[in-house]
Symmetry: C2
Subunit: 239 residues, 2 copies
């Protein structure tokens, strides 16, 4: 977890036979999904951090032509796209199974992830869209989160029920960033006490060992956003 | 297959206990994915066609708040999002299994679908973007398809290998529309003979019974596009 992000001009770090590798960056919520699964399932792995605005040439050529993290590699097997990585890891490493056995529950969880994708669209509009639209995006984001407040009330302590499962690790990375985001855009969309079930959920998630292992603090996230504003994104934040 | 599309103001068609229903529209490539799976696996079902520009209120309220087809329903179970519907159907109805058993092959197929999503982005840019960008989008689309020409050469007669499997039914609906699209936008991106493996694949797919059952002809597709241009999309085309 402590190696600095590799950027363009770097050389491909030689593979160790039989060792699972994840190409990641701690600031990327999609990469965090896969790191949460690795941590929760206690799968030994080595991390290669990628500089996300100056990507190594070998990463695009040999690993993921789409250039995105996470990607995972073991010997000649390479998988990318966060949901695909997570499902693959859960299938291949049987300990602490995260995907429900029931196909209908699986489908409903995937649909919930899809709905969450609509929520994060608002999140990115708020962060990176025109500033005059920021308040409206925060309002729409809040409405979207209301659905999740109702959903967690139905489902239990976690979206997975009595314990965190795949669905929790698919949505958590954005929740982790919400307090930093509120400060950054100067909008309140979750801290006003209007979603008590969801805020209690967030507190519970913070006590999950995998979350504690993978998370960056609110201060780390703010530090990263500040570096982006300054025109020099710090892809080594929190290392 | 012969019922006209239901639109706003319609009433919810009563469910028959134990009957699988698909909310669909023949012109929608995403809905076609699920209909191909139903046909190939020979799963009995009833089709409720949805008018896609005047959606029934009950569809948004009771079935899919995102408003998209396909959605499938059996009694109190509702699933939507095309990939989720297809995977669910393959899991719950075991005949003619379409998803590979090997998790790595599963993952690689899902990645290929993701790459295809990048291809269809160009497809929609070409169709619906500013006309001055049409030729450039067609060129980028062609480059994307080149990857699939190489891939099919590696994989066999079908993307699934010696027979069509899930990956084929996930990508086919766009291939079905390519000849109509070429005529419509007056650009050649697949008919110039530069991708012989892919054009041979398209011919093979046209002989697959599920494809024959679900497809619309090039003329049907042109008829639909023409109706869109005329400002009154015909969501009953080919019925």
């Amino acid at each position: 977890m402590s190696t600095e992000a590799l950027s363009s001009g770097s050389t491909f770090p030689p593979l160790k036979a039989g060792t699972l590798r994840i190409y990641s960056n701690r600031i990327c919520p999609y990469a965090e999904r896969a790191r949460l699964v690795l941590a929760h399932k206690d799968i030994p792995n080595e991390v290669v951090n990628i500089h996300l605005s100056k990507k190594p040439e070998w990463f695009l050529e040999k690993i993921n032509p789409l250039g995105k993290v996470p990607a995972i590699q073991k010997d000649d097997k390479i998988v990318y796209e966060s949901a695909v990585c997570c499902d693959y890891l859960d299938q291949v490493y049987p300990g602490n199974k995260l995907i429900p056995d029931d196909p209908y529950q699986q489908a409903r969880d995937r649909i919930l992830v899809e709905h969450f994708g609509q929520v994060t669209t608002q999140y990115y509009k708020m962060l990176f869209g025109p500033s005059e639209n920021c308040a409206a995006a925060a309002e729409t984001l809040k409405k979207g989160l209301m659905e999740f407040d109702k959903e967690i009330q139905k489902r239990g302590d976690f979206f997975g029920g009595s314990e965190p499962r795949m669905i929790d690790f698919m949505v958590w990375p954005w929740f982790e960033r919400f307090h930093a985001t509120e400060k950054l855009v100067n909008q309140i969309f979750i801290s006003d006490g209007s979603m008590p079930n969801l805020t209690a959920y967030m507190d519970r998630m913070l006590s999950v060992p995998a979350v504690q292992k993978c998370r960056l603090s609110t201060e780390n996230h703010l530090e990263f956003y500040q570096s982006v504003k300054n025109g020099a994104p710090n892809y080594n934040v929190g290392l």
